[in-house]
């Protein structure tokens, strides 16, 4: 199994080298930015598994992060912190498996709006549970230090990137791409479409569950409106569309770009930042549907025979 440098090795290297270098700057600010960046990389890579490869575009991926965060909060104090985070990931994965059975039968744009509705539904359910429990936002004191969280998040980003590289090379990846290109044809050629979609959906929920738990540990409090904020889903989609969601490279490029932009603008001009995101999203959908990654490919191959997706 040989790695294609630009598609596979480059994103892995970017994440690994980035993770090792940021702490050398010796400043908590950079650790914080790195933590956020790697969180987004992990989220966007997970999203790519189901939405990039299988073409089932999820506009509600925040739901898995929210569930991961909430399970961490619910198990807070009862089990060790890291175990709580793992419970969050497993919970998110099981949730995906459970709702995936009906939800993954819904195709195309209906799936897209359904995922959004599902995330909002989960948000309001959690809000109501919390208000029944009499909690309106929870403080979590005594969480791990930023440095520890940083390394965990960097590892998650690496795992996420690696998972896209690996899945693309498996039969699973080829099957998912076939489903994206034409689900009916894929089925007739022997691709077990429903099973593959479910596996992809569940896989794509695991890391976000952990990432959500890390976000909660970092801020030290949990508030459903924030943990299930649709802007998180929107940002994931925008990253993947700007970067490209054909391989592991796109999400890394997209995440770096948006995190830099957000560092520049978010704290002072949040609305300007969001407007720019909207404009970028529209621009890329219209003019460069394969993202920066696709533009790179186009530059690289000048011949008429355009490359396919490079299945191995």
């Amino acid at each position: 199994m040989s790695l294609n440098f630009s598609r596979d090795a480059l994103p892995l290297l970017l994440v690994a080298v980035g993770a090792l270098c940021l702490p050398l700057l010796g400043n908590d600010y950079y650790l914080g930015v790195g933590f956020t960046l790697f969180g987004w990389v992990a989220l966007a890579q997970s999203w790519t598994l189901v939405s990039g490869l299988a073409g089932y575009i999820s506009l509600g991926h925040v739901v898995f992060a929210g569930i991961g965060g909430y399970l961490l909060v619910l198990t807070w104090g009862a089990v060790p912190i890291w175990l709580g985070a793992i419970v969050g990931a497993v919970g998110a994965g099981l949730f995906a498996l459970l709702v995936g059975l009906p939800v993954m039968r819904v195709r195309g744009p209906y799936f897209v709006i359904l995922t959004f509705g599902l995330a909002e539904f989960a948000k309001y359910v959690v809000i109501n549970i919390e208000s029944v429990l009499g909690k309106f936002s929870r403080l979590l004191l005594g969480g791990p230090a930023l440095q520890d969280l940083y390394w965990v998040m960097a590892a998650l980003a690496l795992v996420g990137t690696f998972s896209v590289v690996v899945v693309r090379r498996l039969r699973l990846g080829a099957g998912l791409i076939a489903i994206r290109e034409d689900e009916t044809a894929a089925g007739t050629l022997g691709v077990p479409t429903m099973r593959f979609k479910l596996i992809a959906f569940a896989l794509s929920a695991l890391l976000p569950g952990l990432v959500g738990a890390m976000f909660v540990l970092r801020t030290g409090y949990f508030e459903p409106l924030q943990a299930f904020d649709p802007i998180i889903s929107f940002t994931i989609v925008t990253m993947a569309i700007i970067g490209g969601s054909e391989d592991a490279r796109g999400p890394v490029l997209g995440a770096i770009f948006l995190v830099l932009l957000s560092e520049l603008l978010w704290s002072n001009f949040p609305q300007v930042y969001m407007v720019i995101l909207g404009v970028l999203l529209i621009g890329f959908v219209l003019f460069a549907p394969n993202g920066v990654s696709g533009l790179l490919d186009r530059l690289a191959s000048r011949s008429l025979q355009r490359p396919g997706v490079g299945l191995v």
């Binding site: 744009p109 709006i113 509705g117 109501n128 649709p230 609305q271 300007v272 969001m274 909207g278 529209i282």
Partner: protein, 295 residues
């Protein structure tokens, strides 16, 4: 139990239902004729709300007039977006699936832009104002003028549009386009003109409904999304592209929501709406509603 049987609750359900029906009608026009999934739709309602608010607050202009201004403004916005972004998409040779998926993402971007530009301009603080708030008495039921106006305008306008589509030549072209795009072109329908009309009308209806809704609800830059969701529930319940079915479905959802909340609690309103939304999509997705193709 008494409250459930009261006319007060029924009229509340009808008011909400008629608003939903009108909002969904516009979305349905755009989806049915062009397969564009406008998830910025609720944001147009929000724009309408602000138009009503500012016209009343600054110039004491009645919401009834503001409604027309809002319709014209969102209609113009629709025309600009149609020419700027969508005409080229629609005339290209892309598959319907592609157009649907792209339009969803593009409108998502538009939605975020509209919301945040509004927040930049008017701040994110929710606003309310009191207009048309004297009570109208009908038998034992009393409702405010504003809600009465919402009911009459929404119902009247919806019914007018449905009949317009049934009876006028332009309406016939729109229905033809909903049925079959290629065939419409072949029989000589000016598809571009009909699309523009449907697009602008759809946008205008949202703005118009927004000016009415804004009288009774809090107006904020982020108030729109629930209306988008509601409109989608309604058109999926009623049948995509089926305009009259959408009106009935709007009423149905108004009743489900009003009585559901009355039976439980106001906190559960969002859960109820999103729950119906999920159930509808899972149980009656595209395949069950559209005529099946033989593959």
């Amino acid at each position: 139990m008494d409250i459930l049987l009261s006319g007060q609750l029924l009229i509340a359900a009808l008011i909400i239902g008629s608003i939903y029906g009108l909002v969904a009608l516009g979305l349905n026009l755009i989806y049915g004729t062009m397969r564009l999934l406008n998830i910025a739709y609720g944001d147009l309602v929000m724009i309408g709300g602000y138009v009503g608010y500012w016209l009343f607050t600054l110039a004491a202009i009645s919401p009834i007039i503001a409604m027309l201004v809002a319709g014209v403004l969102t209609g113009l916005l629709g025309a600009a977006l149609y020419f700027g972004l969508f005409r080229r998409q629609l005339s290209g040779r892309q598959s319907i699936e592609r157009i649907e998926a792209n339009s969803l993402l593009i409108f998502f971007g538009i939605s975020i832009i509209i919301q945040n530009v509004t927040a930049l301009a008017f701040s994110a603080t929710p606003r309310t104002y009191n207009a048309l708030d004297s009570l109208v008495q009908i038998g034992e039921i009393s409702i405010t003028q504003s809600r009465m106006a919402a009911l009459l305008v929404c119902l009247g306008l919806s019914i007018f549009i449905v009949f317009f589509l049934r009876l006028s030549p332009l309406g016939l072209s729109i229905r033809a386009l909903i049925q079959n795009r290629t065939a419409s072109q072949i029989v000589g329908i000016d598809v571009n003109r009909v699309q523009l009309f449907a697009f602008v009308t759809g946008f205008a209806l949202a703005g118009l409904a927004g000016a009415l809704i804004g009288v009774t609800e809090q107006i904020s830059p982020f108030m729109g999304f629930p209306f988008t969701i509601v409109a989608f529930v309604v058109i999926i319940l009623g049948g995509l592209g089926n305009l009259a079915g959408g009106l009935l479905a709007g009423m149905l959802l108004g009743i489900i929501e009003t009585y559901g909340v009355a039976l439980t609690s106001a906190n559960l309103r969002s859960i109820l709406i999103y729950g119906v939304f999920i159930l509808v999509l899972v149980l009656r997705p595209e395949g069950l509603l559209q005529k099946r193709r033989m593959t």
